[in-house]
Structure formats: structure tokens, C-alpha cells
């Protein structure tokens, strides 16, 4: 088993009646189990490049090697059943139920009814939709974000090793988009699919990509590297321009919550504990607030000393816990949640919503500081001016 899942060799597309090719001799190796993002300005040939991989667009010349096998000339219908496909417009079939939509490829592969049904339920669960509620709905009865979840579930149905995604979160509102991105990254940690992901948004590229291909016109790679390298060592002016200034802020999108030190020893209580016990624990600690968890360890409410002055049941005291983030969220997401939740802290929870720790604004500032230092170090080393200090 080689480490390379998809190999593109001199892949070229010349649309009929056009002078210059839309994709010009694209050669690239896509490692197994990684998310490779194609990013570049509109019209540079990202979509054309992606759609040549599953031959929705037939290449004019060149070769596509999938897992060691030359698939340039195999039956495209057979090929596509091995490759998941998600597009911006989602393209759910409006006249069939969510269940039948997700079952598309299993039905093509002739799975039996029980296996398909079990798989559909499993996948709806995986993408965060309750099968009992959504199975028999029609696409128009779902929100945009829910539809895109179904789109992802449908692409994963037959467990293809490769996934092609063309601006999958492009048409979704920013808040839902952030959530879907995070959920998708969490999913990918388990699935370890090889994913080609197209976007025109460099922030999304930095967030989602294990590796980023910055494409110039005719789909010519300006740089193919990890997000860190792209940010710290742009290969040329095109990349530097495209990535843009404000690289510190960009790095907030690059650093994940799991990569910084979060406070795991916060003062905790259980929602079913006695009020006096809780009060005493808060008084004896040097914390100003206590976080109450429910039976499943999910954060429920924040309590502070004055909250004990009112005669209320524990479950109604204080403020509801907000601003929850998962470890794979970026610091930028965390900051956004803090600002939205106006709490100054974000609560880190795992995939099931159970408490893991607390992240506050200071933690983020500390990590920005560290980054700045590292950056300055790098720029000094390469005899460049640190853009951060140059502007400031």
C-alpha cells in the first residue's frame, strides 16, 4: 500500500472552442488519508481539476492514478461509485426522502435492504441528524446546513476511500459553516479519508487542509505545502498576496484548541448536588465561578457567589453555560464563540458534549504572543521584515 492515494500526471483540460487550456499539465500527488485543499482565485481551474479526478469532466490528456491503478480510461460509472462526491449546490434529489438520498450508492451497488437501512441510520447519526426524525423527510423540509450534512452522509454511504468536495460549505451562513467545518474535521479524524477539497477562501483552506495547493490560472500550482509552510514561507509573491497580510490572525485559524493549554482543573459541581455543599466549595476555592455539569458531564450552568442569595433550585441558579467548542475548533472559532457568548471564556467539550476544560481570552492572547515571537524569529532568520511589526 503506497502512501500516495491519488496521482495526477500532466492532467490537461482544453474546453472545446477555447484557446488556452483551463487546466494545464497539472501534476500532483495526494497522500493517503489527508485533506488536500485546492485554493485559488475564481476561474483558475479548481473545479475543472477536481472534476477530472472522477471524470465528470473528461481530461483532454494526462493520467489519473487512483490507489496505484490507472483509472484514466476505466468505466466512469464504476469509478465514481468508489469516490464520494459533494458539491456546493448539494444536489439532493428533491423527490425522494433523505433515506433514499443517502442510500443512492448502496442501491447502485446492490446492497440488500437491511444493510442499506442500517448504514443510512448510522450515517445520519454520524452527521448529527436523528434518523428517526429525518429519515422520511424530504430535502425541502431541511435547512441549508442540514441538507449539506445529508450531502456528506450520501457521499460517505458506501465508505469510499476518496472524497471530492467542491466548495461544500460555500453556500452556507458563516456560523453554520464554522460548525460544519469543525464537525467535518472531527469526522475526518476517525474516517481518515483521502479528500480533495476545493475552496476560493484561503481561511477555509488553512483551516481544513493538511496540505494546500495554491493554484494560479490554468490550475498551475504556485505552492503545494502544509498550511504552516504557506503562512510562514510563501513561495512567491502570488502566494504571499493570496494569503494576504494579518498572518497572526490567520494563525489563529491555524492553531486548534487541542494544541494550546486549556484549564482542565476548573471548579466543578454536579447539578444534582446539595446547594450548601456547592456554596461551601465555591467559597473555599479561589475561583469566582463554578461550572455545573449534568449527569452526562455536559456543562449546564455557571454559578457565582451572589447566585446563592436567591432561593431557587440548583438547576435554575446562575446563568446557562454557553460558548462550547470542540478540541478541533480553531482559536479563531473559540474567540468568536467567546464574543458571541459574551462570557470571556469558552468551554471545551468532546464530541459527546462532555466537559474537557476551559479556555479563556488570556490563553488565546498568550498563544498569539508565542506565535508573534516565533514569527519574528523566522522573519529575522530569513532577513525579511516582520509584517506584524512593520504595520504596528
Amino acid at each position: 500500500m503506497s502512501d500516495i492515494m491519488i496521482e495526477l500526471k500532466e492532467l490537461t483540460k482544453r474546453y472545446p472552442g477555447t484557446e488556452t487550456p483551463a487546466v494545464d499539465r497539472l501534476t500532483m500527488e495526494i497522500p493517503r488519508g489527508e485533506i488536500v485543499v485546492f485554493v485559488g482565485p475564481s476561474g483558475c481551474g479548481k473545479t475543472t481539476s477536481l472534476k477530472m479526478i472522477n471524470r465528470i469532466i473528461e481530461p483532454t490528456s494526462g493520467q489519473i492514478i487512483l490507489d496505484g491503478e490507472d483509472v484514466t480510461d476505466v468505466n466512469p460509472d464504476q469509478l465514481r461509485r468508489r469516490i464520494g462526491y459533494v458539491i456546493q449546490q448539494i444536489g439532493l434529489f428533491p423527490h425522494v426522502t433523505i433515506e433514499d438520498n443517502v442510500a443512492t450508492v448502496p442501491n447502485l451497488l446492490g446492497w440488500d435492504r437491511d444493510r442499506t437501512k442500517a448504514r443510512v441510520d448510522e450515517l445520519l447519526d454520524v452527521v448529527g441528524l436523528d434518523p428517526d426524525v429525518y429519515r422520511n423527510r424530504y430535502p425541502k423540509e431541511l435547512s441549508g446546513g442540514q441538507r449539506q450534512r445529508v450531502g456528506v452522509a450520501r457521499a460517505l454511504a458506501a465508505d469510499p476511500p476518496v472524497l471530492l468536495m467542491d466548495e461544500p460549505f460555500g453556500a452556507i451562513d458563516p456560523i453554520t459553516r464554522t460548525r460544519l467545518q469543525n464537525e467535518f474535521l472531527r469526522l475526518q479524524q476517525e474516517l481518515k479519508k483521502t479528500i480533495c477539497f476545493v475552496t476560493h477562501d484561503i481561511d477555509e483552506a488553512i483551516k481544513m487542509g493538511d496540505r494546500i495547493a495554491i493554484l494560479q490560472e490554468r490550475s498551475i500550482p504556485a505552492q503545494f505545502a502544509t498550511p504552516e509552510e504557506i503562512l510562514t514561507q510563501p513561495a512567491n509573491d502570488f502566494v504571499a498576496d493570496f494569503v494576504g497580510s494579518g498572518s497572526t490572525l490567520k494563525r489563529l485559524k491555524l492553531t486548534r484548541v487541542r494544541d494550546v493549554n486549556i484549564t482542565t482543573d476548573a471548579l466543578l459541581g454536579r447539578i444534582d448536588e446539595d446547594k450548601h455543599v456547592l456554596r461551601q466549595r465555591l467559597q473555599e476555592s479561589d475561583w469566582t465561578a463554578m461550572l455545573l455539569l449534568d449527569a452526562e458531564k455536559r456543562p449546564s450552568r455557571w454559578l457565582r457567589a451572589p447566585d446563592f442569595l436567591h432561593d431557587r433550585p440548583v438547576a435554575e441558579m446562575g446563568l446557562p453555560a454557553r460558548a462550547m467548542i470542540e478540541p478541533q475548533a480553531t482559536l479563531s472559532d473559540a474567540l468568536e464563540e467567546m464574543l458571541l457568548g459574551s462570557a470571556g471564556v469558552a468551554i471545551v467539550v468532546d464530541g459527546r458534549g462532555a466537559f474537557q476544560g476551559i479556555l479563556d481570552v488570556d490563553d488565546i492572547i498568550t498563544s498569539i504572543q508565542t506565535m508573534r515571537d516565533a514569527n519574528a524569529e523566522f522573519y529575522r532568520a530569513s532577513k525579511l521584515i516582520d509584517p506584524a511589526t512593520a504595520i504596528a
Binding site: 472522477n54 465528470i56 466512469p76 460509472d77 464504476q78 469509478l79 465514481r80 461509485r81 462526491y85 458539491i87 449546490q89 448539494i90 444536489g91 439532493l92 434529489f93 428533491p94 423527490h95 425522494v96 426522502t97 443512492t104 450508492v105 447502485l108 426524525v133 424530504y138 430535502p139 425541502k140 423540509e141 450520501r154 457521499a155 471530492l164
Partner: protein, 277 residues
């Protein structure tokens, strides 16, 4: 769907969609639907009863009495229905496959021209078209100038373009991204046509079929030109013999049949339209 769904399921659905329709509104909607279902048959029944009562009060002469027998009228109505169904079946068998073919990638570039022709064809008055065909059948020695065949040919010729046009428009308006998703997951071109394109085109195609049926019921009235029978005979008799009661009964029956066909077609349309649309 609403008719067969249990109330609490409906509530759940409404709540999940962020609507706050209460049970009373649902009940009102159901009643509205029932009224809509019964209005047309009720109206037609009343119209025919009224015509019958009016006729009973008339002093009919022997010609009128001979023409206005139940046997004769039912026979003519049956001929009329038969002509309509026969020609509609033929036109569907011709126009729908042709419309599918004309929207395939290979022939797609002809599609706008054909749709334009379809639009123009609808503007030709039926009487003019029939008269033309009537003449054509008369002067062509090897074509029968009377009977069912010329009538059916004329009706098919006349309703071909609207059905073709609707089939093509119906297929054409299907969201490209839905088709791309289908192909992208490995559905063959034929499967995409059968499972996605056609079902999604059904509402527009059905509207075309309904139009054709109504056109054919109306135009079949002119079958008397070819001695093809139908209710047109009754109306024509009434006119040529100057018997007003015969003319009126014929006209009422033609109108009843046309409205009934349109009504039944509308029910079928509602039934066959895919649920998610």
C-alpha cells in the same frame, strides 16, 4: 400527504419547520380541499339536471325526440371519449419519447428551435388545422377520407406540439446540479433519466398531457367533418336542422365532458406529482 398523516406527526413537522400552524388551521385546510374536490362534479351535476328539467318542459317534435334519446346520446358520448383517449394515447407515445430524445446532450442544440415551434404550433386555430387535414385526406387517393383514422391523425397532429413542448421544458428545467450529483455518484445516464430527470419533469409533462386531453376533447367535436361521430354530430344536427333543444343538449354534453376530463386530469396530476416537490 396531509390527508393520511396523523395529526401529531403533522404538528411535529410544523414545529420542526419553525411554523406554528395550529390544528384548527390544518382542519380548515382539509375542509378547503374537500370543497375543492367536490365543487366541479357538483357543478356539472347541477348543469345537467337543469338542462334535463328545462328539456322536460319543452314541447319536442318527432325529430327532436328521436335524437335526444338516452341511447343515442350515450353512444355519441362514448364515441367522443373513445376518440379522445385513442388520440391522446397515440400522441403521448409519440411526443414524450421524442421530447426525451430531443433533450439528450447529442440533440440538445435543436431543443430551443423545437420548443419555439411548439409554442408557434399552439397558436394555430384547431378549426383551420382540421379543415386543412380534411382537405388533405380528401385529395389523397390512398388515404381514407372518413372514419376514425383521419380524426385520430388530426387530433394527434394537433396536440403533438404542446405535449412535446411540455416534455422538453419539463426535462430542461430540472436543476443541473441534481443531475450532476447523480452522475457524480455513478448513476448511468439512463438511470439518471429514469430515476431523477423524468420524475422531476413529471409535473410539467402532466400539465402538457392535461392540456392535450382538453384540446382533444374540444377538437374531437369537429370529428363530424370526417363522419367520425362523437358529440359534434349532435351539435351539428341541431344546427343544420335548426332544432335549438338538440343544439343546446349537444353543447351542454360537450362542455360537461371537457370539464370532467380536465377535472380528472387535475386529480391525476395531483396524485402523480412527486411528494417532495
Amino acid at each position: 400527504m396531509a390527508v393520511s398523516t396523523a395529526p401529531q406527526e403533522l404538528d411535529q413537522e410544523a414545529a420542526a419547520l419553525g411554523r406554528s400552524e395550529d390544528a384548527a388551521a390544518t382542519k380548515r385546510a382539509k375542509r378547503g380541499k374537500l370543497v375543492r374536490y367536490l365543487a366541479m362534479p357538483g357543478f356539472l351535476l347541477l348543469l345537467n339536471i337543469a338542462t334535463f328539467l328545462w328539456l322536460s318542459g319543452q314541447d319536442l317534435d318527432s325529430i327532436e325526440r328521436r335524437t335526444l334519446t338516452a341511447d343515442n346520446l350515450i353512444g355519441k358520448a362514448q364515441e367522443h371519449v373513445w376518440l379522445t383517449l385513442l388520440s391522446t394515447t397515440f400522441v403521448l407515445l409519440l411526443a414524450i419519447p421524442f421530447g426525451i430524445l430531443a433533450t439528450r446532450p447529442r440533440y440538445r442544440r435543436f431543443a430551443p428551435g423545437i420548443i419555439g415551434l411548439g409554442n408557434a404550433g399552439q397558436a394555430i386555430p384547431s378549426f383551420g388545422m382540421l379543415a386543412l387535414l380534411f382537405y388533405l385526406f380528401r385529395v389523397t387517393p390512398w388515404l381514407p377520407s372518413t372514419g376514425t383514422l383521419p380524426v385520430v391523425v388530426a387530433l394527434v397532429g394537433y396536440s403533438f406540439l404542446p405535449i412535446l413542448r411540455n416534455t422538453m421544458v419539463g426535462l430542461d428545467q430540472v436543476d443541473r446540479s441534481v443531475l450532476e450529483a447523480g452522475r457524480g455518484m455513478g448513476m448511468s445516464e439512463r438511470r439518471v433519466l429514469r430515476r431523477i430527470e423524468l420524475p422531476l419533469a413529471v409535473p410539467v409533462i402532466l400539465a402538457g398531457i392535461r392540456t392535450a386531453l382538453v384540446l382533444n376533447v374540444g377538437t374531437a367535436t369537429l370529428a363530424f367533418l370526417f363522419g367520425g361521430g362523437g358529440l359534434g354530430d349532435v351539435v351539428y344536427n341541431g344546427l343544420s336542422l335548426r332544432r335549438i333543444p338538440i343544439t343546446i343538449v349537444g353543447a351542454v354534453l360537450v362542455a360537461t365532458l371537457a370539464l370532467l376530463v380536465d377535472y380528472i386530469a387535475s386529480l391525476i396530476e395531483e396524485k402523480l406529482t412527486p411528494k417532495g416537490l
